[in-house]
């Protein structure tokens, strides 16, 4: 196989995901409704008594141009990461479904290396999630969520990396889940703890005031770093610590996903598919 054939394969996988995305518009809208409910109801309800102010002595944790931001502006980055988290999990759900229904086999019996096929599928899923994020950001303008223009550009690489990390986690989980019914467990044991034990809804320094243990747990939560990477990049800034964390977790999850789908060593080899 030459490089051009790799390109054709990659293009085919991305195109198919785009087509599925186009034909399953309900999926797109339902993915948008979730963060919009948080923004329009939860955040607006809390805004009157939950503004977030710059932490004292920690300027590196504050990307906003003003010292006090309304709550809905603060949680916008968390809701963007939430779109990607759910997209990553939805992709993995569809992979479990595809595997049960058989269409995943079509991909896996391709002569291209399995790691390449899985990475291509991941990139395709992330591309869809980035479109969802921009649709969300457009609607969020009605709630005065207006990052600087440059932020719309600088957020793209951050979205790509965080989307890849969360997608790779979902892919690994899909290799470990035996049946579709077990996916409910993922909601309880992965999505909710990741989302709530992060800086998506409240800043870490506020968590520390209440619980030191929870603070440390949140500090090492990969989702926290996806949120912070997005939050800073929306304002044209780079949170280096979060970037490093996201890259490390991306590598770990990707390796686990590739291991999970390895025909000789992975979890898939130990069960009937």
């Amino acid at each position: 196989m030459c490089i051009f054939q790799y390109y054709l394969c990659f293009k085919g996988i991305v195109f198919r995901e785009s087509l599925r995305f186009f034909y399953q518009r309900e999926r797109f809208f339902s993915a948008l409704v979730r963060p919009l409910v948080w923004l329009a109801i939860f955040a607006v309800g809390f805004r009157s008594f939950l503004g977030v102010s710059r932490p004292l002595g920690e300027p590196e944790n504050w990307p906003y141009p003003v010292s006090l931001v309304p709550y809905e502006l603060y949680i916008a980055a968390g809701l963007i990461a939430m779109i990607q988290l759910f997209n990553g999990m939805q992709s993995s759900l569809s992979m479990v479904y595809d595997r049960e229904m058989g269409s995943m086999r079509t991909l896996l019996v391709s002569p291209f290396p399995r790691s390449f096929l899985l990475a291509s599928k991941l990139v395709a899923g992330v591309s869809v999630s980035i479109l969802q994020v921009f649709a969300f950001l457009t609607i969020a303008l009605f709630w005065n969520i207006e990052p600087p223009l440059i932020g719309y550009l600088t957020v793209i690489p951050a979205l790509f990396l965080s989307g890849m990390m969360l997608g790779a986690l979902g892919m690994f989980l899909s290799s470990a889940i035996k049946q579709l019914e077990n996916f409910a467990g993922v909601m309880n044991f992965v999505i909710f703890p990741m989302f709530f034990a992060s800086s998506a809804l409240y800043p870490l320094w506020k968590i520390r005031e209440s619980s030191e243990i929870l603070f440390y747990f949140c500090s090492y939560n990969p989702f926290t770093h996806a949120v912070e990477l997005i939050r800073f990049s929306l304002y044209g800034q780079l949170n280096e610590k979060s970037l490093i964390f996201v890259l490390i977790f991306l590598l770990i999850f990707l390796m686990l996903a590739i291991y999970g789908y390895d025909p000789s060593k992975g979890i898939i080899a130990k069960k009937k598919v």
């Binding site: 196989m1 030459c2 051009f4 054939q5 790799y6 054709l8 394969c9 293009k11 085919g12 996988i13 195109f15 198919r16 087509l19 599925r20 034909y23 399953q24 229904m101 058989g102 269409s103 086999r105 079509t106 991909l107 896996l108 019996v109 391709s110 002569p111 291209f112 290396p113 096929l117 025909p263 000789s264 898939i268 080899a269 130990k270 069960k271 009937k272 598919v273």
Partner: protein, 242 residues
């Protein structure tokens, strides 16, 4: 002399304590039409999963046109076309989109893929369905599209895992006739897994797989002669009930 399309030697596979395949040896040559006959749970799908490297074989070896599936999976898989037991076409996409997707998974250019798709569809008088969504097709047409898809990249070995399940009698006949013609015209080696005795071709080869073991592997006429059976059903009973 025909070259070997598929060579399986001393293949074993376990799922936990369950032995799914037990010392399986099979050889298929170019142009061979072989039926893999076995009851549900005999190990047919497991065997197909190993040949297509959905997972690796634990012992023994599988070679496709002299390419070991574990050592050289890319070359081995490039020679295989597969129709899985469960439908694997995307219902929301058109026939063309499904076929183009498959072609891209084999690194094929769009133009070549379209040409091949039209050629294979026309062989089955189905050119008019190219722009139709899979959802709009009958069960038989969907299966035939899967066969077209399996042939898109001109494989030399075609694996069919119970391809006629859930298909009406007329479509079954068409599928059987088409695959046999491919065998003759393209010298395609075919391994057709089924539990339906009437799909066995009297002129072809028969492999009886039972509880993970190959109990017979020969031309149908030789098997009938050896077992002194009038038909395949009796011969199958001879092997599985003795």
């Amino acid at each position: 002399m025909n070259s070997s399309a598929l060579t399986i030697k001393t293949l074993n596979h376990n799922f936990g304590n369950l032995r799914a395949l037990d010392n399986v040896n099979i050889t298929l040559n170019e142009g061979d039409y072989s039926i893999l006959l076995g009851l549900n749970g005999a190990g047919k799908t497991t065997l197909f999963s190993l040949i297509t490297r959905l997972y690796d074989n634990q012992t023994g070896s599988i070679e496709i046109f002299s390419n070991n599936i574990k050592k050289n999976p890319s070359k081995a898989l490039a020679n295989i076309g597969v129709v899985f037991q469960q439908p694997t076409v995307d219902l929301d996409l058109t026939v063309e989109q499904n076929l183009q997707y498959h072609a891209s998974l084999h690194g094929m250019r769009k133009k070549l893929a379209l040409d091949n798709a039209l050629t294979e569809l026309s062989r089955q008088n189905m050119e008019d369905i190219l722009k139709k969504k899979i959802r709009e097709l009958s069960g038989g047409q969907r299966r035939r599209v899967e066969i077209v898809r399996a042939l898109m990249h001109n494989p030399k070995l075609l694996l069919l895992d119970e391809p006629t399940v859930g298909v009406d009698i007329e479509s079954r006949k068409l599928i059987v006739k088409h695959v046999k013609s491919l065998c003759k015209e393209k010298k395609l080696a075919v391994l057709w897994a089924t539990h339906l005795i009437d799909e066995v071709d009297q002129d072809g080869k028969l492999i009886v797989l039972h509880q993970g073991k190959v109990l017979a592997n020969n031309l149908v006429k030789n098997i009938l002669k050896k077992t002194k059976s009038k038909n395949v059903s009796n011969a199958f009973d001879y092997f599985t009930k003795n």
